[in-house]
């Protein structure tokens, strides 16, 4: 594995649109067989990075190498990447099958072979029986799955997936995640996955790259990044709420694992909200408001508007405050 060149290697990519600096120096590697999730708030430049990699956008600076080969100057079709567009970009003049078989066809496969591959890909995304349909009448989720199948069917060694499941329900997503995971493992493709779904990132990605306003602010192993965000901004972006001021320029980050409900002092509960698999409560702690999710079982520790809570100091971390 280690002697294989990375499936993707980006260095110093910059791209502006008129006055908007969409990408401002992004360097990132995706190894063969590895899935990297690209996370970041809306408009931070994720899709632009993917478009640069696919060769649809010329970077203002920087270079793109795919499977060890510099492709910065190459046209999209010479790069061997499969891209799922955020807005699908299905071919309106082709049927569902025609759309999915398109990639194999233009890469020279015979019709029968191409269609067989297309059917396989369609089965993977759980779209049986729609082969002959025009894409115009598809539902949002159906169209998205066609787009995903179309990219998968190319058999490209590098897949660029731009929020490929944003319009699917959770069960289907879970199924697809399992399917994709085993597919990626089987074909050894490098995958760069843009997603806003942290479960998806966790389930699929070995590493995560967090992007902010055109730059990567933290790259690391998935659990590492989730467990140890580098800055207050990253922590907040990943959904951490217990970021309490701790002197100028610093915050005290209290991860949920550091919270021990049912032991220690009583604190008053200022908010509670039922969530999937439990209840989310906010406790007026001396450091500031602390939120935590109690499982159905732990909820028993609640005593009206009070909760015993102790913080395991060793789990608390100081992070630089870099939020605007």
């Amino acid at each position: 594995m280690t002697d294989l060149p990375p499936a993707l290697s980006l260095s110093g990519i910059r791209k502006s649109f008129g006055g908007v600096a969409a990408v401002r120096g992004v360097s990132l590697d995706v190894a063969a067989g590895e899935t990297v999730a690209l996370l970041g708030p809306s408009g931070c430049g994720k899709s632009t990075v993917l478009r640069v990699v696919a060769g649809l956008e010329r970077p203002d600076a920087g270079s793109v190498a795919v499977a060890g080969r510099d492709v910065t100057g190459l046209p999209p079709e010479a790069r061997g990447v499969g891209l799922v567009f955020q807005d699908y970009a299905l071919f309106p003049h082709l049927s569902v099958l025609g759309n999915v078989a398109y990639g194999p066809r233009v890469r020279g496969a015979r019709r029968a072979v191409a269609e067989a591959r297309a059917r396989e890909a369609l089965a993977l995304v759980d779209l049986p029986g729609l082969e002959a349909r025009r894409v115009a009448g598809l539902s949002g989720g159906q169209a998205q799955r066609v787009a995903l199948a179309r990219a998968l069917a190319t058999g490209a060694g590098l897949l660029l997936l731009d929020e490929p499941m944003s319009n699917l329900d959770e069960r289907l997503r879970a199924e697809l995640r399992a399917g994709l995971r085993s597919l990626f493992a089987r074909v050894g493709a490098g995958v760069l996955l843009v997603t806003h779904d942290q479960r998806e990132a966790r389930a699929l990605a070995g590493r995560v790259a967090v992007m902010r306003a055109g730059e990567l602010v933290q790259v690391g192993a998935t659990e590492e990044v989730f467990a140890r965000p580098a800055t207050a901004w990253v922590a907040a972006f990943l959904g951490e709420v217990n970021l309490l001021p701790d002197g100028p320029g610093w915050v005290r980050f209290v991860p949920e694992e550091a919270l021990r409900p049912g032991v220690g002092e009583w604190w008053s509960v200022t908010a509670r909200q039922p969530v999937e698999g439990g209840v989310q409560v906010t406790v007026a702690h001396a450091w500031g408001p602390l939120s935590l999710t109690l499982s159905a079982r732990e909820a028993a520790a609640l005593d009206g508007d009070r909760l015993r809570l102790s913080v395991e100091e060793s789990g608390v971390r100081r992070l630089p405050e870099d939020r605007a």
């Binding site: 696919a54 060769g55 649809l56 046209p75 999209p76 079709e77 790069r79 061997g80 990447v81 499969g82 891209l83 567009f85 807005d87 970009a89 299905l90 071919f91 309106p92 003049h93 398109y102 990639g103 233009v106 890469r107 025009r134 115009a136 009448g137 179309r150 990219a151 190319t154 490209a156």
Partner: protein, 515 residues
Amino acid sequence: MTSTKLQGWLLALPGLIFVALCLVLPLARTLREGGVTLDVWRDPYFQGRLAWTLTQAGVTAGVAALIGVPLAFLLSRFEARGKALFLRLLLLPFVTPTLVAVLGLSALLGPQGWVTRLTGVDLSDTPALLVLGNLFFNVPVLVRLSYAGFARVPGNVVGAARSLGAPWWRAALGVALPLALPGVLAGVVLVFLYSALSFGLPLALGGERFATLEVEIYTLTALQLRLSEASALIVGQLGFTLLATWAYVALSRGGVGVPSGDLPRARGGARAALLGLGSVVAIVCFAPLVAVMLRGVLGTSGFTLAYWQGVLADEATPLLVWNTLRFGLMALAGATLLGGLYALGAWRAGSRALDLVSLLPLMISPVSLAVGYLLAYPVLAATLPMLIAAYTLLAWPLVVRSLLPALRAIPPRLFEAARSLGATRGAAFRSVTVPLAFPALRGGGALALATVLGEFGATLVLTRPEWATLSTGLYERLGRPGERNLGEACALATTLLILATLAFTLLDGGEGEVT
């Protein structure tokens, strides 16, 4: 210049060379021969002609837009029985030789016309008849080009406007129209140019009183050989047509989208409006044709097949049909090839100047070109290449005007998707751009063919007896007095219309999108 731009200009080059050779050079020769004495424009007579020319063309374009744009919009939003056939038959007026149209209109609205006798309203020798005649020829162009524009407006976008509270007319005007603008404006500008530069129709319908500038140019050029005065008029006419065209080019920015398939059936108000406007257009555009067809089977003593027998017995008739088809197809090939390349070039080059150039053939007085041909290419006078070139010149703007907005409307994402799936530029072009633009090419081809099947090339070049077409055969009969000549001319006109319908059916592939 980026390579895409350069490539665009290269693709447009054959068209540009063609325009240079078949238009710019001959026109320059004409102007040089006469010299340009702009003094003519001081003459209030010519100022009056100019004003009249602009007025009648403006009124025509306005009325055509008022009827045609809403109809095109409705046709693009709703399914209606016989829609494809209707759009196809709408090409027939374009095929019709001017004098035939005049005869059809007079049979209905002349002093002894059927409608006149029914209603007692005599429009003959009034400008209303002229505008009706202009509409007869030109509403079809407007409807078809606007329809193509509207068909590309995504249904959801109009739906969004409606659900945000816009009544249909507001959604149509505020959302659909701006997005369909390239098609709609192409239609409007073509109507304006055709009406401004037409001369057969105003003369035949109104005599010298309704003579347009083009009539004066014709008279001064072809009959009086006063080329210097004619040149001044030509330059002036070119000036105002360029102005109109420039306005069109400047305004025609639209949206992207591809025609979508299934549409709902029209009901309620939409259905009523569709039927109403459709009927108005059908009456304006088809009634004169029906009248002509009827005259082909009605003699003084009622129904007769004598005229048809006469036409069928005439040994020249097969030649007329064959020539009509032959020239039509040759020019169609020329126009689609040149026009197709040119539209691609203009699209890639992203140059609005190229838009302007593509309309030049419709801005130039044909007579002045005819003189230019004789001066520039005497050796080629009355040769087949010249004839086909002339036909092609008149037909290719229609191909370009159909195809270019369609190309511009293709969402760039689709091409990108193809490339990222492994298609080379060429393969992506073949498998995405071509299929998405093909209906528009077909539509443009149909309009181009219609132009050619009519009479027009004949005014540009010298012809030969063995090149007689259905329309020249028909004019020849109308050059002799006598009932049978009129009847046979109408029968020939009917033949032309039938032939054209067949050709359009083949060209449209029988089904699918008509644009």
